[in-house]
Amino acid sequence: MRKHFNRMTQDKIKTEKQQGWGLIFICWIIAMAALFGSLFFSEVMGLKPCVLCWWQRVFIYPLAVLFLVGMFPQGDKVDLSVVRYTLPLAAIGLGFAIYHYLVYSGFIPESLQPCSEELSCAQIDLELMGFITIPMLSIFAYSAIIILLIIYRKRFYQ
């Protein structure tokens, strides 16, 4: 009986320490989808990434690694503090994604954007189903990660 109780509390502690794992897992899946998706665009389809695309890559690629590391327990403890390192990266990335979207959709004139002449960031190379563009996908990925991380932070970290 006592043994059984003991195991139950242990299980409870274990689940408490595992809390939020699912959220981080989803964040990781989004980051991985962005990583492989962007590599598909550039390496398979041969769309050259413009300067702004590169800046967005800079901030999403490390997320795929950081979330992965965060999901694995240190001892028996899941590293809850993963949110501290990933949220700033995602926030900066979202900034670039929004900026890129504005350049793309013409709100920011081409002359103001920092792309090289040969590779315009405003040129639309790909439209999935007629309206989904790459900056839109990027905004979606970053926003989803940020929302999940904020929920995670409120529920489990503080």
């Binding site: 990781w28 899946i29 991985m32 492989f36 598909f40 041969g46 327990p73």
Partner: protein, 216 residues
């Protein structure tokens, strides 16, 4: 731990999905490319282009190139070797696709040298001295000019011919044809009108050999 398995399985799934979609995409693209070049057959070869090798050869390699392109320069001896290995059966047509900055001027120097029957010598000299006239991926025509001694070129005539309207017209048409054929990188090869879809020495050799066995 169960979660470890989930993570590993997801990671594997991503990789497999990537490889599968990439393969499907590439296969489809290959088909599109081959059929597109068949429709555009008149864009592949123009009668004004420089040609080397026997004129009656039944296998023709068309190469879109940029003299400033390192890979073009690396492929040049290989293509010549292909012609040597199959004597009398293969010839080579060169077409211009100056992608580097200022390379259009380099190309017009080559065309001007062709008027003096020094095209291939000048091209080889340009390839040999690439490091001396390219700075940070930008071609420096004046620096190439300094390397052209000893080729027997009449430099005054060369200087006049570089400006020629006919040369400009040819280069422009070559670039337009390349766009039409979807050649965006150099060197871009076609063998008897068939595009080299997967780039590489071996792939080019195989394509040439398959055309030789089909035509001889």
């Amino acid at each position: 731990m169960k979660k470890n398995m989930i993570v590993i399985a997801t990671a594997i799934l991503f990789v497999v999905l990537f490889i599968v979609t990439a393969t499907i995409y590439n296969n489809q693209k290959d088909k599109e490319l081959s059929s597109a070049s068949l429709e555009n057959i008149e864009h592949i070869q123009r009668d004004y282009s420089p040609i080397i090798g026997p004129l009656d050869a039944k296998v023709t390699i068309v190469e879109f190139f940029d003299p400033a392109c390192g890979t073009c320069s690396a492929f040049y001896p290989f293509v010549k070797q292909l012609m040597k290995d199959n004597p009398g059966k293969v010839n080579l047509v060169l077409r211009y696709l100056p992608l580097h900055q200022n390379s259009d001027v380099i190309v017009s120097i080559l065309e001007a040298a062709r008027i003096q029957n020094r095209f291939w010598e000048t091209l080889e000299r340009a390839y040999e001295t690439r490091d001396l006239w390219i700075e940070h991926h930008v071609s420096r025509p004046k620096k190439l000019w300094q390397q052209l001694g000893g080729l027997g070129l009449d430099m005054v005539k060369l200087n006049n011919d570089v400006q020629s309207a006919e040369i400009a017209r040819r280069i422009k048409l070559d670039i337009l044809d390349a766009q039409q054929l979807n050649v965006t990188k150099t060197p871009g090869f076609f063998v008897n009108g068939k595009p080299l879809v997967h780039f590489g020495y071996q792939q080019l050799q195989q394509l040439v050999e398959s055309e030789i066995s089909a035509n001889y």
